[in-house]
Protein backbone atom coordinates (compact mmCIF):
# COMPACT_ATOMS: atom_id res chain seq x y z
CA UNK A 1 0.00 0.00 0.00
CA UNK A 2 2.67 2.45 1.07
CA UNK A 3 4.70 1.29 -1.89
CA UNK A 4 1.96 2.14 -4.40
CA UNK A 5 1.64 5.58 -2.86
CA UNK A 6 5.35 6.24 -2.83
CA UNK A 7 6.25 4.82 -6.20
CA UNK A 8 4.88 7.72 -8.32
CA UNK A 9 6.52 10.16 -5.94
CA UNK A 10 9.80 8.37 -6.26
CA UNK A 11 9.49 8.38 -10.05
CA UNK A 12 8.76 12.09 -10.03
CA UNK A 13 11.78 12.71 -7.85
CA UNK A 14 13.93 10.58 -10.10
CA UNK A 15 12.68 12.42 -13.16
CA UNK A 16 13.35 15.84 -11.62
CA UNK A 17 16.84 14.91 -10.52
CA UNK A 18 17.56 13.46 -13.93
CA UNK A 19 16.30 16.61 -15.66
CA UNK A 20 18.38 18.91 -13.46
CA UNK A 21 21.41 16.72 -13.94
CA UNK A 22 21.04 16.91 -17.73
CA UNK A 23 20.59 20.65 -17.55
CA UNK A 24 23.86 20.83 -15.63
CA UNK A 25 25.62 18.66 -18.19
CA UNK A 26 24.33 20.78 -21.08
CA UNK A 27 25.46 23.96 -19.33
CA UNK A 28 28.93 22.56 -18.79
CA UNK A 29 29.03 21.46 -22.41
CA UNK A 30 28.01 24.98 -23.44
CA UNK A 31 30.91 26.42 -21.44
CA UNK A 32 33.25 23.88 -23.03
CA UNK A 33 32.07 24.95 -26.50
CA UNK A 34 32.61 28.62 -25.69
CA UNK A 35 36.08 27.92 -24.33
CA UNK A 36 37.00 25.93 -27.42
CA UNK A 37 35.58 28.35 -29.97
CA UNK A 38 38.81 30.19 -30.70
CA UNK A 39 39.70 27.86 -33.53
CA UNK A 40 36.29 28.17 -35.18
CA UNK A 41 36.65 31.92 -35.26
CA UNK A 42 40.23 31.89 -36.48
CA UNK A 43 39.53 29.28 -39.13
CA UNK A 44 36.17 30.63 -40.13
CA UNK A 45 35.95 28.46 -43.24
CA UNK A 46 35.13 25.56 -40.88
CA UNK A 47 32.01 27.43 -39.77
CA UNK A 48 31.11 28.48 -43.31
CA UNK A 49 31.31 24.85 -44.40
CA UNK A 50 28.90 23.76 -41.66
CA UNK A 51 26.61 26.70 -42.41
CA UNK A 52 26.49 25.52 -45.96
CA UNK A 53 25.39 22.06 -44.82
CA UNK A 54 22.88 22.99 -42.13
CA UNK A 55 21.61 26.03 -44.02
CA UNK A 56 21.21 24.36 -47.36
CA UNK A 57 19.61 21.32 -45.74
CA UNK A 58 16.89 23.54 -44.32
CA UNK A 59 16.52 25.91 -47.25
CA UNK A 60 13.80 24.13 -49.25
CA UNK A 61 11.66 23.30 -46.25
CA UNK A 62 11.95 26.89 -44.94
CA UNK A 63 11.05 28.45 -48.29
CA UNK A 64 8.09 26.19 -48.96
CA UNK A 65 6.71 26.31 -45.41
CA UNK A 66 7.14 30.07 -45.27
CA UNK A 67 5.15 30.49 -48.45
CA UNK A 68 2.30 28.30 -47.23
CA UNK A 69 2.17 29.86 -43.78
CA UNK A 70 1.98 33.29 -45.43
CA UNK A 71 -0.84 32.11 -47.70
CA UNK A 72 -2.81 30.73 -44.77
CA UNK A 73 -2.26 33.97 -42.87
CA UNK A 74 -3.56 35.82 -45.94
CA UNK A 75 -6.74 33.77 -46.05
CA UNK A 76 -7.46 33.70 -42.33
CA UNK A 77 -6.47 37.31 -41.87
CA UNK A 78 -8.70 38.45 -44.70
CA UNK A 79 -11.82 36.60 -43.48
CA UNK A 80 -11.34 38.06 -40.00
CA UNK A 81 -10.39 41.58 -41.00
CA UNK A 82 -13.19 41.92 -43.55
CA UNK A 83 -15.74 41.53 -40.75
CA UNK A 84 -14.41 44.68 -39.18
CA UNK A 85 -14.15 46.42 -42.50
CA UNK A 86 -10.41 46.69 -42.29
CA UNK A 87 -9.25 44.26 -44.95
CA UNK A 88 -6.70 46.89 -45.99
CA UNK A 89 -4.70 46.11 -42.87
CA UNK A 90 -3.91 42.62 -44.17
CA UNK A 91 -0.32 43.55 -45.05
CA UNK A 92 0.34 44.75 -41.51
CA UNK A 93 -1.28 41.69 -39.97
CA UNK A 94 0.69 39.22 -42.06
CA UNK A 95 4.00 41.01 -41.50
CA UNK A 96 3.54 41.50 -37.77
CA UNK A 97 2.45 37.90 -37.11
CA UNK A 98 5.43 36.62 -39.04
CA UNK A 99 8.09 38.98 -37.76
CA UNK A 100 7.14 38.83 -34.12
CA UNK A 101 6.10 35.19 -33.70
CA UNK A 102 5.59 32.78 -36.52
CA UNK A 103 8.77 33.39 -38.44
CA UNK A 104 11.26 32.79 -35.61
CA UNK A 105 9.25 30.00 -33.96
CA UNK A 106 8.29 27.99 -37.03
CA UNK A 107 11.66 28.43 -38.70
CA UNK A 108 13.31 27.19 -35.50
CA UNK A 109 10.98 24.17 -35.27
CA UNK A 110 11.71 23.29 -38.88
CA UNK A 111 15.42 23.87 -38.41
CA UNK A 112 15.43 21.58 -35.37
CA UNK A 113 13.71 18.75 -37.18
CA UNK A 114 15.77 19.06 -40.34
CA UNK A 115 19.25 20.35 -39.51
CA UNK A 116 19.27 19.71 -35.76
CA UNK A 117 18.41 16.05 -36.08
CA UNK A 118 20.95 15.66 -38.89
CA UNK A 119 23.60 17.28 -36.70
CA UNK A 120 22.85 14.91 -33.80
CA UNK A 121 22.92 11.88 -36.09
CA UNK A 122 26.18 12.99 -37.70
CA UNK A 123 28.03 13.61 -34.44
CA UNK A 124 26.51 10.49 -32.86
CA UNK A 125 27.68 8.37 -35.77
CA UNK A 126 31.14 9.93 -35.61
CA UNK A 127 31.21 8.83 -31.99
CA UNK A 128 29.88 5.34 -32.71
CA UNK A 129 32.46 4.75 -35.45
CA UNK A 130 35.33 5.97 -33.23
CA UNK A 131 35.93 9.06 -35.38
CA UNK A 132 35.82 11.30 -32.32
CA UNK A 133 38.25 8.99 -30.51
CA UNK A 134 40.50 8.97 -33.56
CA UNK A 135 40.48 12.73 -33.56
CA UNK A 136 41.39 13.07 -29.93
CA UNK A 137 44.14 10.46 -30.29
CA UNK A 138 45.46 12.67 -33.12
CA UNK A 139 45.71 15.38 -30.45
CA UNK A 140 42.80 17.33 -31.93
CA UNK A 141 40.04 18.29 -29.53
CA UNK A 142 36.70 17.13 -31.01
CA UNK A 143 34.81 19.85 -29.16
CA UNK A 144 36.94 22.47 -30.89
CA UNK A 145 37.08 20.81 -34.28
CA UNK A 146 33.67 19.11 -34.66
CA UNK A 147 31.26 20.62 -32.16
CA UNK A 148 32.12 24.33 -32.04
CA UNK A 149 32.00 25.00 -35.80
CA UNK A 150 28.61 23.28 -36.02
CA UNK A 151 27.34 25.23 -33.04
CA UNK A 152 28.31 28.61 -34.49
CA UNK A 153 27.05 27.63 -37.91
CA UNK A 154 23.64 26.84 -36.41
CA UNK A 155 23.58 30.04 -34.37
CA UNK A 156 24.40 32.14 -37.43
CA UNK A 157 22.12 30.26 -39.85
CA UNK A 158 19.02 30.51 -37.71
CA UNK A 159 18.34 34.28 -38.05
CA UNK A 160 19.04 34.12 -41.78
CA UNK A 161 16.60 31.25 -42.21
CA UNK A 162 14.00 33.00 -40.06
CA UNK A 163 14.36 36.15 -42.17
CA UNK A 164 13.93 34.05 -45.29
CA UNK A 165 10.85 32.46 -43.78
CA UNK A 166 9.42 35.93 -43.10
CA UNK A 167 10.08 37.12 -46.64
CA UNK A 168 8.44 34.02 -48.13
CA UNK A 169 5.48 34.42 -45.76
CA UNK A 170 4.96 38.03 -46.77
CA UNK A 171 5.09 37.00 -50.42
CA UNK A 172 2.57 34.22 -49.67
CA UNK A 173 0.25 36.71 -47.97
CA UNK A 174 0.59 38.99 -50.97
CA UNK A 175 -0.22 36.16 -53.36
CA UNK A 176 -3.46 35.35 -51.54
CA UNK A 177 -4.53 38.85 -50.47
CA UNK A 178 -3.65 40.81 -53.57
CA UNK A 179 -3.41 38.37 -56.45
CA UNK A 180 -6.20 35.96 -55.43
CA UNK A 181 -8.66 38.03 -53.41
CA UNK A 182 -7.94 41.28 -55.18
CA UNK A 183 -7.02 43.67 -52.38
CA UNK A 184 -5.14 46.81 -53.40
CA UNK A 185 -1.44 46.12 -53.76
CA UNK A 186 -0.50 49.64 -52.65
CA UNK A 187 -2.38 49.41 -49.36
CA UNK A 188 -0.93 45.92 -48.64
CA UNK A 189 2.58 47.35 -48.71
CA UNK A 190 1.88 50.80 -47.26
CA UNK A 191 -0.03 49.39 -44.28
CA UNK A 192 2.89 47.10 -43.67
CA UNK A 193 5.36 49.95 -43.93
CA UNK A 194 3.36 52.16 -41.59
CA UNK A 195 2.82 49.56 -38.87
CA UNK A 196 6.04 47.61 -38.71
CA UNK A 197 8.64 49.10 -36.41
CA UNK A 198 12.24 48.25 -37.22
CA UNK A 199 13.37 47.92 -33.63
CA UNK A 200 10.31 46.50 -31.89
CA UNK A 201 9.26 44.05 -34.57
CA UNK A 202 12.15 43.22 -36.88
CA UNK A 203 15.09 43.35 -34.50
CA UNK A 204 13.25 41.65 -31.64
CA UNK A 205 12.19 38.87 -34.00
CA UNK A 206 15.78 38.37 -35.08
CA UNK A 207 16.96 38.34 -31.48
CA UNK A 208 14.41 35.64 -30.78
CA UNK A 209 15.70 33.52 -33.63
CA UNK A 210 19.26 34.01 -32.43
CA UNK A 211 18.25 32.56 -29.04
CA UNK A 212 16.35 29.72 -30.71
CA UNK A 213 19.36 29.00 -32.91
CA UNK A 214 21.59 28.76 -29.83
CA UNK A 215 19.14 26.52 -27.99
CA UNK A 216 18.45 24.17 -30.90
CA UNK A 217 22.06 23.80 -31.96
CA UNK A 218 23.28 23.36 -28.40
CA UNK A 219 20.74 20.59 -27.85
CA UNK A 220 21.61 19.00 -31.19
CA UNK A 221 25.37 18.90 -30.66
CA UNK A 222 25.02 17.85 -27.02
CA UNK A 223 22.71 14.95 -27.84
CA UNK A 224 25.07 13.82 -30.60
CA UNK A 225 28.14 14.04 -28.39
CA UNK A 226 26.38 12.35 -25.50
CA UNK A 227 24.72 9.61 -27.58
CA UNK A 228 25.25 5.98 -26.65
CA UNK A 229 27.69 4.92 -29.38
CA UNK A 230 25.45 2.35 -31.05
CA UNK A 231 22.88 2.50 -33.85
CA UNK A 232 20.03 2.40 -31.35
CA UNK A 233 21.69 5.05 -29.19
CA UNK A 234 22.12 7.44 -32.11
CA UNK A 235 18.54 7.04 -33.23
CA UNK A 236 17.25 7.67 -29.70
CA UNK A 237 19.45 10.77 -29.46
CA UNK A 238 18.07 12.09 -32.75
CA UNK A 239 14.51 11.76 -31.48
CA UNK A 240 15.45 13.48 -28.23
CA UNK A 241 16.92 16.41 -30.16
CA UNK A 242 13.66 17.04 -32.01
CA UNK A 243 11.42 16.65 -28.95
CA UNK A 244 13.58 18.65 -26.55
CA UNK A 245 14.18 21.39 -29.12
CA UNK A 246 10.46 21.81 -29.76
CA UNK A 247 9.69 22.14 -26.05
CA UNK A 248 12.57 24.50 -25.41
CA UNK A 249 11.70 26.71 -28.39
CA UNK A 250 8.11 27.14 -27.25
CA UNK A 251 9.03 27.75 -23.61
CA UNK A 252 11.80 30.16 -24.56
CA UNK A 253 9.42 31.97 -26.90
CA UNK A 254 7.06 32.66 -24.03
CA UNK A 255 9.84 34.01 -21.85
CA UNK A 256 11.35 36.17 -24.59
CA UNK A 257 7.95 37.52 -25.64
CA UNK A 258 7.15 38.44 -22.06
CA UNK A 259 10.38 40.42 -21.86
CA UNK A 260 10.20 42.04 -25.29
CA UNK A 261 6.67 43.15 -26.06
Amino acid sequence: MLETLLSPLRKLGHWVIEAIWRLGMISRFFVAILMNSGQSLLRFHLVIREMYFSGVLSLIIIVVSGLFVGMVLGLQGYTTLVRFGSADALGALVALSLLRELGPVLAALLFASRAGSAMTAEIGLMKATEQLDAMSVMAVNPVARVVAPRFWAGVLSMPILAALFNVMGIIGGYAVGVLMIGLDSGSYWSQMQANVDLHVDVVNGLIKSLFFGMAVTLIAVYEGFDATPTAAGVSAATTRTVVTSALVILALDFVLTAFMF
Partner: protein, 271 residues
Protein backbone atom coordinates in the same frame (compact mmCIF):
# COMPACT_ATOMS: atom_id res chain seq x y z
CA UNK B 1 65.57 -3.07 -19.59
CA UNK B 2 63.40 -0.57 -17.78
CA UNK B 3 65.72 2.32 -18.67
CA UNK B 4 65.33 1.62 -22.37
CA UNK B 5 61.66 0.79 -22.41
CA UNK B 6 59.38 3.11 -24.32
CA UNK B 7 56.20 1.83 -22.73
CA UNK B 8 55.95 0.37 -19.27
CA UNK B 9 52.97 -0.88 -17.28
CA UNK B 10 53.56 -1.26 -13.53
CA UNK B 11 50.90 -3.18 -11.62
CA UNK B 12 48.15 -1.67 -13.76
CA UNK B 13 44.54 -2.51 -12.91
CA UNK B 14 41.57 -1.14 -14.77
CA UNK B 15 37.81 -1.57 -14.42
CA UNK B 16 34.80 -0.13 -16.21
CA UNK B 17 32.66 0.69 -13.19
CA UNK B 18 32.43 -2.49 -11.15
CA UNK B 19 33.60 -4.67 -13.98
CA UNK B 20 37.28 -5.46 -13.70
CA UNK B 21 38.94 -5.64 -17.14
CA UNK B 22 42.69 -5.70 -16.45
CA UNK B 23 44.33 -6.95 -13.26
CA UNK B 24 47.82 -6.16 -12.13
CA UNK B 25 49.40 -5.95 -15.57
CA UNK B 26 53.17 -5.60 -15.83
CA UNK B 27 54.79 -5.24 -19.20
CA UNK B 28 57.61 -3.39 -20.83
CA UNK B 29 58.07 -2.55 -24.48
CA UNK B 30 61.58 -1.52 -25.57
CA UNK B 31 62.17 1.40 -27.88
CA UNK B 32 62.04 0.53 -31.57
CA UNK B 33 60.49 -2.89 -31.03
CA UNK B 34 57.31 -4.39 -32.40
CA UNK B 35 55.21 -6.07 -29.73
CA UNK B 36 51.94 -7.94 -30.09
CA UNK B 37 49.38 -8.29 -27.34
CA UNK B 38 47.10 -11.23 -27.99
CA UNK B 39 43.85 -12.21 -26.42
CA UNK B 40 40.31 -13.20 -27.26
CA UNK B 41 37.48 -10.77 -27.97
CA UNK B 42 36.56 -8.77 -24.89
CA UNK B 43 39.79 -9.63 -23.10
CA UNK B 44 40.64 -5.95 -22.74
CA UNK B 45 43.04 -5.45 -25.66
CA UNK B 46 41.50 -2.21 -26.88
CA UNK B 47 41.37 -1.01 -23.27
CA UNK B 48 45.10 -1.62 -23.02
CA UNK B 49 45.72 0.64 -26.01
CA UNK B 50 43.39 3.26 -24.54
CA UNK B 51 45.53 3.22 -21.40
CA UNK B 52 48.66 3.87 -23.47
CA UNK B 53 47.06 6.76 -25.37
CA UNK B 54 45.62 8.17 -22.15
CA UNK B 55 41.98 7.90 -23.25
CA UNK B 56 41.32 6.10 -19.96
CA UNK B 57 43.24 6.11 -16.70
CA UNK B 58 44.05 3.07 -14.58
CA UNK B 59 42.45 2.77 -11.13
CA UNK B 60 45.75 1.40 -9.89
CA UNK B 61 49.33 1.29 -11.07
CA UNK B 62 51.39 3.34 -13.47
CA UNK B 63 51.45 3.67 -17.24
CA UNK B 64 54.74 5.15 -18.39
CA UNK B 65 55.31 6.20 -21.99
CA UNK B 66 58.66 7.63 -23.00
CA UNK B 67 59.59 8.19 -19.36
CA UNK B 68 56.42 10.08 -18.43
CA UNK B 69 53.44 8.99 -16.39
CA UNK B 70 50.41 8.99 -18.68
CA UNK B 71 47.94 8.71 -15.81
CA UNK B 72 49.24 11.94 -14.26
CA UNK B 73 49.30 14.04 -17.43
CA UNK B 74 47.30 17.22 -17.88
CA UNK B 75 45.28 17.34 -21.09
CA UNK B 76 47.93 19.60 -22.62
CA UNK B 77 50.70 17.10 -21.88
CA UNK B 78 48.51 14.31 -23.20
CA UNK B 79 47.99 16.14 -26.50
CA UNK B 80 51.73 16.74 -26.64
CA UNK B 81 52.32 13.00 -26.27
CA UNK B 82 49.65 12.08 -28.81
CA UNK B 83 51.20 14.27 -31.47
CA UNK B 84 54.05 11.76 -31.56
CA UNK B 85 51.68 8.81 -31.57
CA UNK B 86 49.76 7.17 -34.41
CA UNK B 87 46.83 4.85 -33.91
CA UNK B 88 45.16 2.56 -36.37
CA UNK B 89 41.61 1.95 -35.18
CA UNK B 90 39.89 -1.38 -35.50
CA UNK B 91 37.56 -0.19 -38.27
CA UNK B 92 39.74 2.60 -39.60
CA UNK B 93 37.64 5.43 -38.15
CA UNK B 94 38.12 7.57 -41.27
CA UNK B 95 36.26 10.88 -41.14
CA UNK B 96 33.20 10.16 -43.23
CA UNK B 97 32.66 13.77 -44.26
CA UNK B 98 36.18 14.21 -45.63
CA UNK B 99 37.73 12.84 -48.82
CA UNK B 100 40.65 10.43 -48.70
CA UNK B 101 43.01 13.32 -49.36
CA UNK B 102 41.55 15.47 -46.57
CA UNK B 103 41.60 12.51 -44.18
CA UNK B 104 45.32 11.94 -44.66
CA UNK B 105 45.97 15.69 -44.68
CA UNK B 106 43.99 16.15 -41.45
CA UNK B 107 46.79 15.62 -38.89
CA UNK B 108 49.25 17.53 -41.08
CA UNK B 109 46.96 20.53 -41.39
CA UNK B 110 46.03 20.47 -37.71
CA UNK B 111 49.56 20.29 -36.38
CA UNK B 112 51.81 22.03 -38.89
CA UNK B 113 51.67 25.27 -40.83
CA UNK B 114 53.01 23.84 -44.05
CA UNK B 115 51.94 25.49 -47.32
CA UNK B 116 49.26 23.70 -49.36
CA UNK B 117 51.71 22.46 -51.97
CA UNK B 118 53.80 20.75 -49.29
CA UNK B 119 50.74 19.19 -47.65
CA UNK B 120 49.75 17.92 -51.07
CA UNK B 121 53.13 16.28 -51.65
CA UNK B 122 53.22 14.76 -48.18
CA UNK B 123 49.75 13.26 -48.57
CA UNK B 124 50.63 11.73 -51.92
CA UNK B 125 53.80 10.26 -50.43
CA UNK B 126 51.84 8.67 -47.58
CA UNK B 127 49.24 7.33 -49.99
CA UNK B 128 52.01 5.90 -52.15
CA UNK B 129 53.48 4.24 -49.06
CA UNK B 130 50.25 2.30 -48.55
CA UNK B 131 49.91 1.66 -52.29
CA UNK B 132 46.79 3.77 -52.80
CA UNK B 133 47.90 6.78 -54.80
CA UNK B 134 45.07 7.80 -57.11
CA UNK B 135 42.33 7.36 -54.52
CA UNK B 136 42.66 10.87 -53.07
CA UNK B 137 39.37 12.15 -54.45
CA UNK B 138 37.28 9.22 -53.19
CA UNK B 139 35.06 9.47 -50.12
CA UNK B 140 35.41 6.85 -47.32
CA UNK B 141 32.01 5.37 -48.23
CA UNK B 142 33.43 4.46 -51.65
CA UNK B 143 36.29 2.37 -50.23
CA UNK B 144 36.44 -1.35 -49.50
CA UNK B 145 37.29 -2.51 -45.96
CA UNK B 146 40.89 -3.24 -46.86
CA UNK B 147 41.33 0.09 -48.62
CA UNK B 148 39.91 2.11 -45.72
CA UNK B 149 42.25 0.32 -43.34
CA UNK B 150 45.21 1.26 -45.54
CA UNK B 151 44.04 4.88 -45.86
CA UNK B 152 43.66 4.98 -42.09
CA UNK B 153 47.21 3.65 -41.84
CA UNK B 154 48.41 6.43 -44.15
CA UNK B 155 46.65 8.94 -41.90
CA UNK B 156 48.17 7.40 -38.77
CA UNK B 157 51.72 7.68 -40.13
CA UNK B 158 51.19 11.15 -41.63
CA UNK B 159 53.36 12.85 -39.02
CA UNK B 160 55.96 10.05 -38.75
CA UNK B 161 55.01 8.99 -35.22
CA UNK B 162 57.54 7.63 -32.75
CA UNK B 163 54.92 5.19 -31.46
CA UNK B 164 52.34 3.27 -33.49
CA UNK B 165 49.35 1.53 -31.92
CA UNK B 166 47.41 -0.98 -34.00
CA UNK B 167 43.99 -2.18 -32.88
CA UNK B 168 43.24 -5.52 -34.54
CA UNK B 169 44.54 -4.47 -37.95
CA UNK B 170 43.65 -7.83 -39.49
CA UNK B 171 40.08 -8.26 -38.35
CA UNK B 172 37.38 -8.52 -40.97
CA UNK B 173 39.62 -8.51 -44.03
CA UNK B 174 39.81 -10.94 -46.93
CA UNK B 175 43.05 -12.99 -47.06
CA UNK B 176 44.61 -10.83 -49.78
CA UNK B 177 43.99 -7.47 -48.05
CA UNK B 178 45.09 -9.11 -44.84
CA UNK B 179 48.41 -10.19 -46.31
CA UNK B 180 48.85 -6.71 -47.82
CA UNK B 181 48.21 -4.96 -44.51
CA UNK B 182 50.51 -7.30 -42.60
CA UNK B 183 53.28 -6.71 -45.12
CA UNK B 184 52.72 -2.94 -45.03
CA UNK B 185 52.79 -2.74 -41.26
CA UNK B 186 56.02 -4.69 -41.15
CA UNK B 187 57.59 -2.57 -43.88
CA UNK B 188 56.54 0.72 -42.31
CA UNK B 189 57.72 -0.13 -38.82
CA UNK B 190 61.09 -1.24 -40.20
CA UNK B 191 61.44 1.86 -42.36
CA UNK B 192 60.35 4.39 -39.73
CA UNK B 193 62.02 2.67 -36.78
CA UNK B 194 58.94 3.29 -34.66
CA UNK B 195 58.03 1.48 -31.50
CA UNK B 196 54.86 -0.46 -32.31
CA UNK B 197 52.19 -2.15 -30.26
CA UNK B 198 49.64 -4.32 -31.98
CA UNK B 199 46.70 -5.94 -30.26
CA UNK B 200 45.22 -8.80 -32.19
CA UNK B 201 43.81 -12.26 -32.03
CA UNK B 202 45.40 -13.29 -35.30
CA UNK B 203 48.33 -15.43 -34.22
CA UNK B 204 49.57 -16.64 -37.59
CA UNK B 205 50.06 -13.25 -39.20
CA UNK B 206 51.36 -11.45 -36.16
CA UNK B 207 54.01 -14.02 -35.28
CA UNK B 208 55.60 -13.25 -38.64
CA UNK B 209 55.99 -9.55 -38.06
CA UNK B 210 56.51 -8.91 -34.34
CA UNK B 211 59.53 -9.19 -32.05
CA UNK B 212 57.72 -10.18 -28.88
CA UNK B 213 54.29 -11.41 -27.79
CA UNK B 214 52.20 -11.06 -24.64
CA UNK B 215 49.11 -13.22 -24.14
CA UNK B 216 46.25 -11.71 -22.16
CA UNK B 217 43.39 -13.75 -20.70
CA UNK B 218 40.93 -12.95 -17.91
CA UNK B 219 42.60 -9.57 -17.45
CA UNK B 220 46.05 -10.98 -16.77
CA UNK B 221 49.17 -11.68 -18.76
CA UNK B 222 49.31 -15.46 -18.93
CA UNK B 223 52.29 -15.99 -21.22
CA UNK B 224 54.94 -14.08 -23.12
CA UNK B 225 57.88 -14.67 -25.39
CA UNK B 226 59.49 -14.18 -28.78
CA UNK B 227 57.67 -15.68 -31.78
CA UNK B 228 60.02 -18.67 -31.76
CA UNK B 229 59.46 -19.27 -28.07
CA UNK B 230 55.72 -18.97 -28.62
CA UNK B 231 55.73 -21.52 -31.42
CA UNK B 232 57.66 -23.94 -29.20
CA UNK B 233 55.75 -23.11 -26.04
CA UNK B 234 54.22 -25.81 -23.92
CA UNK B 235 51.92 -23.35 -22.13
CA UNK B 236 48.32 -24.47 -22.45
CA UNK B 237 47.25 -20.83 -22.99
CA UNK B 238 49.58 -20.39 -25.91
CA UNK B 239 48.76 -23.79 -27.29
CA UNK B 240 45.06 -23.08 -27.26
CA UNK B 241 45.60 -19.77 -28.99
CA UNK B 242 48.09 -20.83 -31.61
CA UNK B 243 46.04 -23.86 -32.60
CA UNK B 244 42.64 -22.24 -32.17
CA UNK B 245 41.20 -24.85 -29.84
CA UNK B 246 37.74 -24.28 -28.39
CA UNK B 247 38.60 -25.98 -25.12
CA UNK B 248 41.48 -25.05 -22.90
CA UNK B 249 42.25 -22.58 -20.15
CA UNK B 250 40.21 -19.89 -21.99
CA UNK B 251 36.53 -20.73 -21.81
CA UNK B 252 33.99 -19.63 -24.38
CA UNK B 253 31.14 -19.33 -21.91
CA UNK B 254 30.50 -16.08 -20.02
CA UNK B 255 30.91 -16.70 -16.28
CA UNK B 256 27.27 -17.00 -15.14
CA UNK B 257 26.42 -16.91 -11.45
CA UNK B 258 23.55 -19.40 -11.68
CA UNK B 259 23.49 -22.78 -13.37
CA UNK B 260 21.57 -23.37 -16.58
CA UNK B 261 19.45 -26.00 -14.82
CA UNK B 262 18.38 -23.37 -12.26
CA UNK B 263 17.67 -20.78 -14.93
CA UNK B 264 15.30 -23.02 -16.87
CA UNK B 265 13.58 -24.27 -13.74
CA UNK B 266 15.11 -27.72 -13.57
CA UNK B 267 17.20 -26.99 -10.49
CA UNK B 268 14.89 -28.91 -8.15
CA UNK B 269 15.17 -32.13 -10.11
CA UNK B 270 18.75 -32.51 -8.98
CA UNK B 271 18.09 -31.60 -5.38
Amino acid sequence: MSTDSFIEFRNVSFAYGERSILKNINLSIPRGRFVAIMGGSGSGKTTLLRLISGQVSPQQGEVIVDGKHVEKMSSRELFELRRRMGMLFQFGALFTDLSVFDNVAFPIREHTHLPDSMVHDLVLMKLAAVGLRGTERLMPAELSGGMSRRIALARAIALDPALMLYDEPFTGLDPISLGAIAHLIKKLSDALGTTSVMVTHDVQHSLNIVDYVYFVANGEIVAEGTPDEVRASASPWVHQFVYGEADGPVHLAYPATTSLADDIGLGDLHA
